[in-house]
């Protein structure tokens, strides 16, 4: 009880001159500054997660490019002219923007696909394979061993679109959802004559990255070895590369110089991504600046409060109150305000992240429902810096009155 009386008296002496509207303005500035800082870190982290994260968002940034050699009039007659040589692959590997190269290998054994039921389609089917790490949406059951009857395949999303919006309406065939396609069994006859076998292929996923039909590497290797034309080897007509920034001018000119083609849409998106990468840190810088200004406003408010109570502070020190005691008292008054603003900013950041995770869902993207660790780190750091600064400025302002 006695402590409370003493605190009430100190409050009366030191904080009575506090201007309420200025106090709320300082708290609001601090809250806005902290929230903006957290939001900018959140935006930066979310973009990072979408572009580079290990989740299912790889197609967004498409730092992966499928490249081939341009077919020109001169090369038309020479089938080997558009194939990549080991030297080409080595040379590409030395380009600074290239982080990884994957070989896209094709089947050189006959594959004949046919579907039964309402879709009496049958066709020769070219298959390709890439190393697993280059697959954008890796299905859980992506494996095949000789003797397995079921073969998982990945189809380009573009194929399904072409069928649904082009082929099906024109031929009076039913349109198909991704789920229904996955339920269709496709009979694949591999080999020919007496040397052939049949496997049942199931579409297990769709790719936005590679515009062909993908089968596990083990299947292509098995087929090429067992049913491939004698004397044939892998013919590399396409490569998949992981590029740091495909929109980089030097990288683009390298592709042009070597007559390599790629999906220009990817390059355009990469350019957008490059802009986002510039804009986000700029936003962060602005938020940091705002946070700095709002901290300054808050500290100035504290200094002003102490300066207004200068007479009381001096007299309290003269009758025996220690500077440390008065500093602690003042800090204990301002600390709940700081923690309150931090709490509000934290709630806003959590709400913002939750809203962002819901907003990106329709685009088929995944974001965590809670802010990532950089947001928490920024929150902890900014709070710690704020508390240390406020403590220091209160202590200095009180010592000034001695």
């Amino acid at each position: 009880m006695s402590d409370n009386v003493q605190k009430d008296l100190l409050k009366k002496l030191l904080l009575r001159s506090q201007n309420r509207s200025r106090l709320w303005a300082a708290i609001a500035a601090l809250c806005v500054g902290t929230t903006l800082l957290l939001l900018s870190v959140m935006i930066w982290w979310n973009f990072r997660e979408l572009l580079y994260g290990k989740n299912q968002n790889d197609t967004l940034g498409s730092t992966y490019l499928v490249i081939g050699k341009k077919v020109t009039d001169q090369k038309m007659g020479d089938a080997t002219a558009t194939l990549f040589t080991p030297q080409d692959v080595d040379s590409l590997g030395k380009v600074p923007q290239v982080e990884d190269i994957g070989l896209i290998r094709s089947n050189y054994f006959p594959v004949y696909a046919s579907m039964g039921g309402k879709l009496p389609l049958s066709t020769d089917l070219p298959l390709q394979c890439v190393p697993d790490k280059f697959i954008d949406k890796m299905p859980a059951d992506w494996k095949w061993e000789p003797g397995n009857v079921y073969l998982p395949i990945i189809v380009s999303s573009q194929f399904l679109d072409d069928y649904n919006y082009g082929f099906a309406p024109s031929q009076g065939l039913p349109q198909l959802s991704e789920t229904s396609v996955k339920s269709i069994a496709i009979s694949l006859e591999i080999g020919n004559g007496d040397n052939k076998e049949t496997v049942l292929a199931h579409v297990v996923g769709f790719s936005d990255r590679i515009s062909s039909v993908l089968a596990p590497e083990s299947f292509i290797e098995y087929g090429n070895k067992k049913y491939g034309k004698p004397g044939m080897t892998d013919r590399l007509s396409q490569l998949i590369i992981k590029a740091k920034d495909p929109s980089d001018v030097q990288f683009a000119s390298y592709l042009e110089k070597h007559n390599y083609t790629t999906n220009p849409e990817n390059l355009r998106w990469s350019r957008m991504r490059a802009i986002v990468e510039v804009v986000t840190p700029a936003t962060g810088f602005l938020a940091l600046l705002l946070m700095g200004i709002s901290t300054l406003v808050f500290i100035l408010f504290i200094e002003l409060t102490i300066a207004r109570a200068q007479h009381s502070v001096t007299l309290l020190l003269q009758i025996g109150y220690s500077p440390r005691y008065l500093s602690r008292f003042m800090t204990s008054r301002f600390l709940p305000m700081i923690l309150g603003t931090v709490l509000i900013s934290m709630v806003l950041a959590i709400a913002g992240q939750f809203a962002a995770s819901i907003a990106v869902q329709p685009q088929g993207l995944t974001l965590s429902t809670l802010p990532g660790w950089p947001v928490w780190t920024a929150l902890a750091l900014s709070t710690a810096i704020l508390v240390v600064l406020v403590n220091k400025y209160i202590s200095d302002a009180i010592k000034k009155q001695i």
């Binding site: 006695s2 003493q6 009366k12 009381s312 003269q318 009758i319 025996g320 109150y321 220690s322």
Partner: protein, 214 residues
């Protein structure tokens, strides 16, 4: 707690002091606990300056002031606060009360620092100096005489080994001076403390053991 002074002189008074004899300035003196020291100081000889130097409010002086081991020249803020809370109390000439607090609050804010004087005791002392009806009055609205009596009671709200007084009865009439002298005398004796009282004219307020002409 022993107080020792070694050749102290306030910088602003240095030239003036070179031309006159003083019983304290530029001399080496020491006072032991329990002494009643009277400093007789004609106007302008640095009476208030001396009290402020002894209490650690001024550092613009030459020489050394030591309260036992604590030198006032180098004492840190926390050490000074400790000294002012537990060992030295003061009655300022200009009272130095909180004008925005009531008489009781002025007493309480000092009392709560150490809690060595009970609320009941504080009330009794206020009553003895005739402030019973003024407890809820703002210090700013009290007369100088009332403020001085309040400042006297406030100075007694802590434990001390020395009580410094700077013209403590300058605004009091004879009857109130007598009451204040009795109260201060009792409390100082009770605490086995010493006192240093600085005033303009010779007096017999207390049984002084040492008188010094400043």
């Amino acid at each position: 707690m022993q107080l020792s002074l070694q050749g102290i002189v306030p910088v602003p008074l240095r030239d003036k002091m070179n031309n006159r004899q003083s019983g304290l300035w530029q001399r080496s003196l020491s006072f032991t606990k329990g002494e009643y020291v009277f400093i007789q100081a004609p106007s302008g000889t640095g009476k208030t300056t001396l009290i402020h130097i002894l209490y650690g409010l001024r550092k613009d002086f030459e020489g050394n002031v030591n309260w036992e081991q604590t030198g006032m020249t180098n004492a840190g803020n926390e050490a000074l606060a400790l000294l002012r809370t537990n060992s030295i109390s003061v009655i300022f000439q200009d009272m130095r009360l909180f004008p925005e607090l009531t008489a009781w609050e002025n007493i309480d804010i000092k009392r709560k620092l150490t809690n060595t004087v009970t609320e009941q005791q504080a009330n009794v002392w206020l009553d003895r100096l005739g402030l019973q009806d003024k407890k809820q009055s703002l210090a700013a609205t009290m007369s100088y005489g009332e403020q001085q009596r309040l400042a006297i009671v406030r100075a007694l709200m802590q434990p001390f080994e020395w009580l410094l007084m700077d013209e403590p009865f300058s605004h009091l009439d004879h009857a109130n001076t007598e009451k204040a002298i009795t109260l201060i005398g009792e409390v100082v004796k009770q605490r086995n403390a010493g006192m240093i009282l600085a005033d303009l004219d010779e007096n017999t307020y207390f049984p002084y053991t040492k008188t010094i002409i400043l």
